[in-house]
């Protein structure tokens, strides 16, 4: 147990400069343009993208734990944001990773955007958000959360 904690501490504290690790998953299989464009932009900015592909919230959490990511990105287009976000947060709490920030992109109606921000989603990127904005927000939110955890 102690060794685990030490390792955790060393890894977090000893690698302040390691690139942000960004899990990007999507709710369904079709219309992946934003998914790939964001992947490319985030990679070009020097961050590491874990391609979650099409995942349920439970699968996203499993990958997030395995890969020890700094931030989770969820492309929501077909799903109802007000339904899937609470499921995601519940699964994150069950697995003790509720302190990893979540950002969302896709087709999110205004009402849903307000709702999921209240639930704790850190950022909602609407269609045609400039890539530089997405990159900057992902980096900032991830590093702030990493600093809080260490």
């Amino acid at each position: 147990m102690f060794a685990d904690r030490l390792w955790y501490w060393l890894e977090r504290g000893g690698a302040v400069n390691r690139p942000v690790k960004f899990l990007l998953s999507r709710d369904d299989w079709y219309h992946q343009r934003g998914y790939w464009v964001v992947t490319t932009a985030v990679r070009n900015a020097g961050m590491e993208v874990i391609l979650g592909g099409i995942q349920t919230p439970a699968e996203m959490v499993r990958t997030a734990v395995q890969e020890d990511v700094d931030i989770i990105g969820y492309r929501i287009m077909d799903a109802a944001p007000g339904v899937v976000i609470p499921i995601l947060f519940a699964k994150m709490r069950e697995n003790g990773i509720e302190n990893i920030p979540v950002v969302v992109g896709g087709i999110v109606p205004d009402k849903d955007e307000v709702l999921i921000r209240e639930m704790g989603v850190k950022e909602v990127f609407q269609p045609l958000t400039p890539l530089s904005t997405i990159v900057e927000r992902v980096q900032t939110i991830a590093l702030a959360a990493r600093a809080n955890r260490s």
Partner: protein, 560 residues
């Protein structure tokens, strides 16, 4: 072809003219820089007969309805066969979508299209915890034959050709069973489905079964519209689609079919976007390439095989949340490009599609857009009205050259089925380039990177409408509809005969394992109450492709 002396004269005149234009552009402040299309073609501000000097009228353009069909697939264009007004519908349960269909028909739509909440049929059933929040959201929930019966309730399946937006053999089986129960002959059944060409047994089984049993049903599909939504260029839209058709042909010929048995049942789903003339030229170039490739390289002889028929849906990535009513104007211009390009069937996007599923209000405006173009403007009374324009003919030639070069590249890679991943990467590169163009302002989008309005009157107007209208102005997800769907599914599960189902299910598995056509067995199975999730389970078992996410079995291969 132009006479030599005229060409010489043109060359001199052209040089004088271009010098004058250069002088104007260098001296006038604020003159516009050169414009590059999505496909990377530099727009020529003016064309003359010299730009189409190599074009031979009979060889390259000809008459509508005549090889190489550049000017259209029907001799009389829209005069004999009017535009199919076909708006996509699909949300909630089959009841809600059936009601939307009836509404669209009441507005004057004359063809139908349905989008299921799972275009692959490979997803888990609606009561599975993996699909929570997805049921009836991005499309209509269709779990069982009962849902398809409700969907088509009161709809004349012969009068209104229906398109199923799915690659799923399950959906086809249900569609055919519904028609069969009504006593309709399969030989008279028109309609189509999004069974895009891909190296999967399900795709080829659908093609083979329909070629032999449902001869007027367009069973093969080139869904390049959605690949275009994924960010490919107009040239890639043509080339990758033709490449996929070639690979599909190879596979079906290997299965023992003749090209002319099935080629005329492969239709196109195309896009029409902001780059107006490139789109018009694209439709014209595509028809010519299709005819030439399949006559010269595949020996197709049936004129129906050589005519490339297209359903078009206007481009959506440029629809904006900002100043939402601008989308009405955008989609109207895109629709005009499609109609001037001679497509057969059209969906015009609704202005609220960047916000949610269209409402009756916005969908009716999409229908009216097409009717206004068709009935009020005289545009559809002229066949290929832009044919003969120096610019459009030049651009048609350029797109053909570029697309043919790409088709050759794909062939050298062993065909589109083998070049699949390469095509995916090329599309991603193109979509990234486009996004960069919007981000840097190299390509303009009103309300997003130019003419931004922080106090947007249109958004305020929509809010006022939402508060005061006595009709729905923006679609909202309904958890109640998802519950209703689960109840519908449970009803089928309760009422079916488990022993009978087990019997037909085993037979179906045997057929699929043996590599025989799955459609007849599947039709028996859906009659016995097999659900889409159960069929997906069978596929996962037979083809060993279990999937993650909401999927039981891997969704079909997709380019973008």
């Amino acid at each position: 072809m132009l006479r030599e002396d005229l060409l010489e004269e043109l060359k001199d005149a052209r040089e004088r003219y271009e010098a004058e234009v250069r002088r104007i552009l260098t001296t006038v402040p604020g003159a516009r820089e050169e414009h590059v299309t999505f496909s990377g073609l530099v727009v020529k501000p003016l064309c003359t007969p010299a730009d189409t000097a190599e074009t031979d009228f009979f060889r390259d353009i000809s008459f509508p309805g005549e090889y190489p069909y550049t000017r259209g697939v029907f001799p009389a264009g829209y005069l004999s066969r009017g535009l199919h007004i076909r708006q996509v519908a699909g949300f909630g349960t089959a009841e809600e979508t059936n009601a939307r269909w009836r509404f669209l028909l009441s507005q004057g739509a004359n063809a139908l299209s349905v989008v299921p909440d799972d275009g692959s049929g490979n997803r888990a059933d609606s009561d599975d915890e993996r699909v929570r929040g997805l049921v009836g959201k991005g499309g209509v929930a269709l779990d069982t034959l009962y849902d398809y019966e409700t969907l088509f309730d009161g709809i004349d399946m012969v009068r209104y050709p229906c398109h199923l937006i799915t690659t799923s053999a399950y959906a086809l089986a249900c569609y055919l069973v519904v028609a069969g129960k009504r006593g309709l002959s399969f030989t008279g059944l028109r309609g189509s489905m999004s069974n895009w060409m891909r190296p999967e047994p399900e795709c080829l089984d659908i093609m083979e079964y329909c070629a032999k049993n449902v001869p007027l049903f367009n069973a093969g599909y080139l869904d390049m519209r959605n690949v275009r939504e994924g960010g490919c260029t107009a040239v890639q839209e043509i080339a990758f689609g033709v490449g996929l058709a070639m690979s599909g042909c190879d596979a079906l010929v290997e299965k023992g079919l003749e090209v002319d048995e099935f080629l005329h049942r492969i239709t196109w789903f195309v896009n029409s976007g902001p780059e107006f003339f490139e789109e018009v030229a694209k439709f014209r170039a595509l028809r010519r390439i299709w005819a030439r490739v399949f006559r010269e390289q595949y020996g197709a002889r049936d004129p129906r095989s050589l005519t490339c028929r297209m359903h078009c849906q206007t481009y959506a990535p440029t629809l904006t949340r900002q100043q939402p009513f601008n989308n009405l104007i955008r989609s109207t211009v895109y629709a005009l490009g499609a109609i001037l390009g001679g497509i057969q069937s059209l969906h015009v996007n609704s202005f609220d599609e960047a916000l949610a599923i269209p409402t009756e209000f916005s969908a009716s405006l999409s229908v009216r857009t097409q009717q206004i173009i068709d009935l009020e403007t005289g545009i559809t009374r002229v066949i290929d009205p832009l044919g003969g324009s120096y610019y459009v003919e030049w651009l048609t030639n350029r797109l053909e050259e570029e697309a043919m070069a790409l088709i050759d590249t794909i062939r050298e890679m062993g065909g589109a089925f083998k070049a699949w991943d390469w095509m995916c990467r090329e599309i991603r590169k193109a979509s990234y380039r486009t996004q960069e163009e919007y981000d840097t302002g190299a390509r303009l989008l009103v309300g997003v990177n130019t003419l931004v309005d922080d106090n947007d009157i249109q958004t305020r107007a929509l809010e006022v409408l939402r508060e005061h209208a006595d009709f729905e102005t923006l679609h909202e997800y309904s958890a109640a509809l998802a519950e209703k769907q689960v109840a519908r599914l449970n009803k089928v599960r309760r009422e079916r005969n488990p022993e009978r189902l087990d019997g037909v299910r085993e037979e179906l598995v045997e057929t699929m394992r043996a590599g025989r056509n799955m459609i007849p067995g599947l039709m028996e199975a859906v009659k016995s109450g097999l659900t889409r999730g159960e069929f997906a389970n069978i596929k996962a078992g037979v083809y060993h492709q279990p999937a993650e996410g909401p999927y039981v079995c891997r969704p079909p291969l997709v380019l973008a």
